[in-house]
């Protein structure tokens, strides 16, 4: 028996399909009636270096119980070795390493090469803040998929793996982007910055035509 192609029905689904999952906002225990609420504060600036966080003003507001930054967390597991200190040996699996608490630049699926983009104006104000202008990919944007196994293990890690679950190193992003570049290659286009929005594809075609004149 192979797990490939074998449908394993999940046991947690009936609850999610009939009464819904219990997410934080769904908690209704009486003990939470007067509980403090957590708000996550995001950086108001794009691409900035944090030299320090002054929380005194926030703390002086009525009702604020605490302001926590990463500096308040002293029990974090060590980060994985960075490439600078890596001696080239395969990284041991399952080490006591911590993922960064807040994901940075890691959500990269098929949506990225086509649409999704965080845009900022010249003063660093984010322009794509809601799901309406951040163009998350929707059902009509995608074709039906056919699963094909194509196994060419890499020798760069002990697993031979190239794609890793839902991390950023999966194949769909380059596959979609290569397809877009290939579709306009006959017009002289060799490169388009991601995501390949209509405006960028149009600009790339115009640039290639100007260069060939």
């Amino acid at each position: 028996m192979s797990i490939m192609g074998t449908r394993v029905i999940r046991t947690e689904d009936p609850r999610l399909l009939t009464v819904g999952g219990v997410y934080v906002d769904d908690l209704r225990t009486p003990g939470l009636n007067r509980a403090a609420r957590v708000t996550f504060v995001r950086s108001p600036l794009a691409h900035a270096r944090i030299t320090g966080i002054d929380a005194s003003e926030a703390l002086s507001e009525p009702g604020v119980v605490a302001v926590l930054t990463v500096a308040d967390m002293d029990d974090l597991a060590p980060s994985p070795p960075s490439s600078g200190e890596w001696d080239g040996s395969p990284a041991p699996l399952g080490g006591p390493w911590a993922e960064p608490l807040l994901a940075v630049d890691t959500v990269r699926f098929v949506g990225e090469p086509l649409l999704e983009e965080m845009l900022y104006d010249v003063e660093g104000n984010p322009l794509t803040c809601t799901l309406a202008d951040y163009a998350v990919i929707s059902p009509p944007d995608l074709p039906s998929f056919e699963l094909v196994a194509s196994e060419t293990p890499t020798d760069l890690n002990p697993l031979g793996a190239k794609g890793i679950g839902e991390a950023g190193s999966i194949g769909s992003t380059p596959a979609v982007h290569n397809a877009v570049v290939d579709a306009v290659a006959h017009l002289g286009v060799r490169h388009i910055d991601m995501p390949a929005t209509p405006q960028r594809v149009w600009a790339a075609i115009n640039k290639a035509q100007k260069e060939s004149e």
Binding site: R7, I9, R10, E12, D13, P14, L16, L17, T18, V19, G20, G21, V22, Y23, D25, D26, R28, F109, V110, T130, L131, A132, V136, S138, P139, P140, L142, S144, F145
Partner: protein, 156 residues
């Protein structure tokens, strides 16, 4: 103001703020938390419910507008412990992963199949344009909708 709604067959009368949204009425007054608030801006469809049998995004309907009408949420679909064909199709076809968009997806498909009992794949995708999912890539959601269409005689 006083509102009177029938939610999943149950009459609920309550005194609510004029500005209360239907989704907050369902979650905080009717205590039905399957309906999720995903974006608050009518983009994601997680809060989709049926109003007199038609799908609406309940973050864009006032509780006052729904007064006197019938609302069906995910909790009202199954009867006597038997899942609705759309719920069953989602289970069998792996139409969900984290489950957050699922209540809205299921309600949107129930409404879609009422309007069009035998949609093509393209019609399903177009019909679900207002519902976003971050896990599945939609493949198995579309498959579940098509499978449900096979089994649903008269969608209810």
């Amino acid at each position: 103001m006083k509102v009177h709604l029938t939610v999943n067959g149950k009459d609920i009368t309550a005194d609510v703020e004029d500005r209360m949204l239907l989704v907050h009425f369902l979650r905080d007054v009717a205590d039905l938390t399957a309906t999720n608030v995903g974006c608050d801006t009518t983009s994601c469809g997680a809060c989709t419910v049926l109003l007199d049998g038609e799908s609406v995004k309940s973050c864009t309907v006032l509780a006052a507008q729904a007064s006197g009408h019938e609302i069906t949420t995910l909790e009202g679909l199954a009867s006597d412990g038997t899942m609705h064909p759309v719920q069953r199709a989602f289970h069998e076809q792996h139409g969900l992963q984290c489950g957050f968009c699922t209540p809205g997806m299921v309600m949107a498909i129930v409404s879609l199949l009422r309007e069009n009992p035998h949609p093509t794949e393209e019609q399903v995708r177009t019909g679900l344009e207002g519902n976003l999912c971050r896990c599945t890539g939609y493949h198995n959601i579309v498959r579940a909708a098509l499978a449900a269409a096979e089994t649903v005689e008269v969608p209810s």
